[in-house]
């Protein structure tokens, strides 16, 4: 489900006090941020590829109807089936029917955010079909009945000791005295348990990182190989993907794949990138007998051509999350929505309505790092601002927020008043701070000063300095 429990302020306070989470979040900075910078440095063409990838996605979006029709035709030519799903409910119904038609009791799943978005696991389990996540992180999240907290590292918020405890509970049939001290122990146990699921599954469901119109192909990337065992062993392979995943050609997919892993994990390329076209061919040694693609709209067509059109260019690399100071402080779950970080703060209101997600675009300092690292240069800060404007226009902010903003607007439109006020404020703050130069408490900003001191302003205001320098 897109919106889980949107209570950002309360969640954020809890996240800040969660020492395990804070320890885990340090890994984001140590790992992904440094590795992306190194990968970018190794590829001098990186920024040019970003421009090209953006152009590819925007071109596809502006011709989306035609590419969808062509893609659909190519899938049919290769023996596969395309199903359009206007809403999440439609998608669940279609997939449930396909699973029932296949006589499915056990379904294995590759990692798919769209599958989370439509709440597929709950739906399948309600119908008596066991659905098993096979990406290691997703498997652990599912075991804990949690949503993923990061696009590409779903359990970045957990430490290995916590996971070991989960494994002892979930794998109760295994020897109680076994060692689960290291990440390697945990991976080995999950590998053995999930291998049996792969072999027994009736249907395999994967997402898609890209759909290629030229050949009617779905593309999925993993490092684990789980999506491949998911889709090559069962009788039926179902792909669930949203309509904006389309690109025109194999060449276009290359440009995007050169950016995806480098931006996300800092790898040159993911270990596995798999291109699937239809069901198994005559004479093929293995592969699924049936191949279905479910194309989800669920609010995306309403974003097309409008203010939030560019958000549909997102390739879900996770770079904006990794570089976001807010995400790094509170983690993914605090957002209370499936899509988190800057991309989630723009996308979620588009999918569920700003009235239900107004805290998300407000939880940003608009520092701009997300746009700086976005592989398709989505103007995330200006989109966050656009949501704030809509939120204001709809009368959502509280009386206090509105009054403060109105007073601010009144002053900024009157430069003399503004300069007089800012000059006076500076003097008052400096006097309040005294010799220490720091303010421990500040009226109306108690929450801010609770966890840090405000350095008192020193010297002159910007405008005073500017006036002096231009005169001198």
């Amino acid at each position: 489900m897109v919106a889980l429990a949107l209570d950002l302020k309360a969640n954020a306070a809890k996240a800040l006090a969660d020492t395990e989470l804070q320890r885990a979040l340090l890994n984001v900075k140590r790992g992904f941020v440094t590795k992306r910078a190194e990968a970018k440095a190794r590829l001098p063409e990186f920024d040019r590829l970003r421009d090209e990838a953006r152009a590819i996605k925007l071109h596809t979006l502006s011709h989306l109807d035609l590419y969808l029709e062509y893609y659909e035709r190519k899938v049919a030519e290769s023996g596969g089936h395309v199903h359009y799903a206007p809403t999440a409910e439609d998608a669940r119904e279609i997939i449930l029917k396909l699973c029932r038609d296949a006589g499915a009791k056990l379904v294995t799943k590759g990692k798919s955010m769209v599958s989370e978005e439509i709440g597929l696991n709950v739906c399948l389990e309600g119908a008596g079909i066991e659905a098993v996540e096979t990406d290691l992180g997703e498997y652990i999240a599912q075991m804990r009945h949690e949503a993923p907290s990061h696009l590409i590292a779903p359990i970045i918020h957990l430490n290995k000791e916590t996971i070991a405890g989960d494994f002892r509970r979930a794998h109760a049939g295994l020897a109680p005295g076994r060692t689960l001290a290291s990440a390697a122990d945990l991976v080995a146990e999950a590998r053995a348990v999930l291998r049996q699921k792969f072999l027994a599954a009736d249907v395999g469901i994967t997402g898609a990182n890209l759909l290629i119109a030229e050949t009617g192909t779905s593309v999925v990337v993993t490092n684990e190989g789980n999506a491949d065992l998911t889709q090559s062993l069962p009788k039926t392979h179902i792909v669930i993907a949203s309509i904006e995943k389309l690109v025109p050609t194999l060449e276009d997919s290359c440009t995007i794949l050169r950016l995806l892993a480098r931006s996300g994990t800092g790898q040159e390329i993911t270990t596995y990138t798999t291109f699937s076209t239809g069901p198994r061919r005559e004479g093929d040694a293995d592969g699924p007998r049936d191949y279905h693609v479910v194309l989800l709209d669920n609010g995306r067509s309403e974003m097309l051509g409008g203010t939030f059109n560019d958000m549909l260019a997102c390739i879900r690399c996770g770079a904006c999350l990794n570089h976001c100071p807010v995400y790094a402080t509170i983690g993914g779950h605090a957002y209370g929505s499936l899509y988190t970080g800057p991309m989630g703060a723009v996308l979620t209101p588009a999918l569920v309505g700003i009235d239900h997600a107004r805290d998300l675009p407000n939880a940003s300092s608009l520092c701009g790092r997300c746009e700086d690292v976005c592989p398709v240069r989505i103007p995330l800060p200006s989109m966050l601002r656009a949501w704030r404007e809509r939120d204001f226009a709809r009368g959502n902010p509280t009386f206090l927020e509105r009054t403060a903003l109105k007073l601010w607007a009144y002053a900024t439109k009157r430069p003399r008043l503004y300069h007089a006020l800012s000059g006076a404020t500076m003097k008052v703050l400096a006097a309040l701070a005294g010799r220490s130069g720091r303010l421990k408490r500040l009226p109306f900003a108690g929450a801010w000063t609770q966890s840090r001191d405000l350095p008192a302003p020193q010297g002159k205001t910007f405008h005073q300095l500017y006036a002096k320098r231009t005169r001198g």
Partner: protein, 228 residues
């Protein structure tokens, strides 16, 4: 209209409405057709534009950096010896599940009597798999493996050790050059059921971002380049 046709019409109509397309527009269609037929390349990284020897060096270097082993040999005898040596050195099982590629079937297996060859679809108990890559892209040390009659896709993922043979002549610079090879073999706009890009052994960093090899797929990837 059936439900599935209704759904299709609904989504496509919404897309057209949002884009302001209210009647067929020839120029849009020409634009799309042109792109699909000409499939123009974007920027190809300069690193992959070197001569063949440079590409081979880049290919091997990238594979090594991603945790794959590789050997460069000059005749089919060398392939068998390299495989036998690799399995012996690491004390790995010596039974090989082999895809029914003629190149692999006809290798001089008698030179390594300790190796046992099993052909056909893989079974979950297979420990070592041997496949052939149809082409390799040097830019990231990426092998292209295709599904087909003698080529089960699951062989690339089930065994713990995966050995891949690639002909040096099939190593090209970029992904685009590799796709051109496949277009030459399968035709424009057509791909085999599965094309696997493989760029190292299976790995995960989900637990505390610690990299562990052998998440679900092979723990080891060994690449033999046949240059002769």
């Amino acid at each position: 209209m059936s439900v599935s046709e209704e759904n299709r019409t609904k989504v496509l109509d919404r897309v057209r409405d949002a884009l302001g397309v209210h009647a067929p527009d020839m120029w849009r269609e020409v634009n799309v057709r042109h792109r699909l037929v000409t499939h123009p390349s974007g920027t190809i990284p300069a690193r992959s534009l070197g001569n063949h020897e440079a590409c081979l060096a880049l290919f091997s270097g990238m594979l090594a950096s991603q945790g794959a082993n590789f050997a460069r040999v000059h005749d089919p005898e060398g392939v068998v010896k390299a495989i036998a040596g690799y399995l012996t050195d690491l004390e790995l099982p010596t039974e090989l599940r082999i895809s029914e590629e003629p190149v692999l079937v006809t290798l001089p297996w008698l030179l390594a009597p300790r190796l046992k060859q099993v052909y056909g679809a893989p079974s979950p108990s297979d420990k070592v798999g041997l496949s052939r890559a149809i082409v390799g892209a040097a830019e990231t040390g990426t092998l292209f493996l295709v599904s087909g009659a003698g080529n089960p896709t699951s062989l690339n993922f089930l065994p713990e050790t995966h050995i891949v043979l690639v002909d040096a002549g099939d190593v090209v610079g970029s992904y685009e050059a590799a796709w051109d090879r496949l277009r030459g073999l399968y035709g424009e706009g057509t791909l085999p059921r599965t094309v696997n890009w493989i760029s190292g052994p299976s790995r995960t960093a989900d637990i505390e971002q610690t990299i562990i090899r052998g998440a679900h797929g092979p723990k080891r990837l060994a690449v033999v380049i046949l240059d002769g």
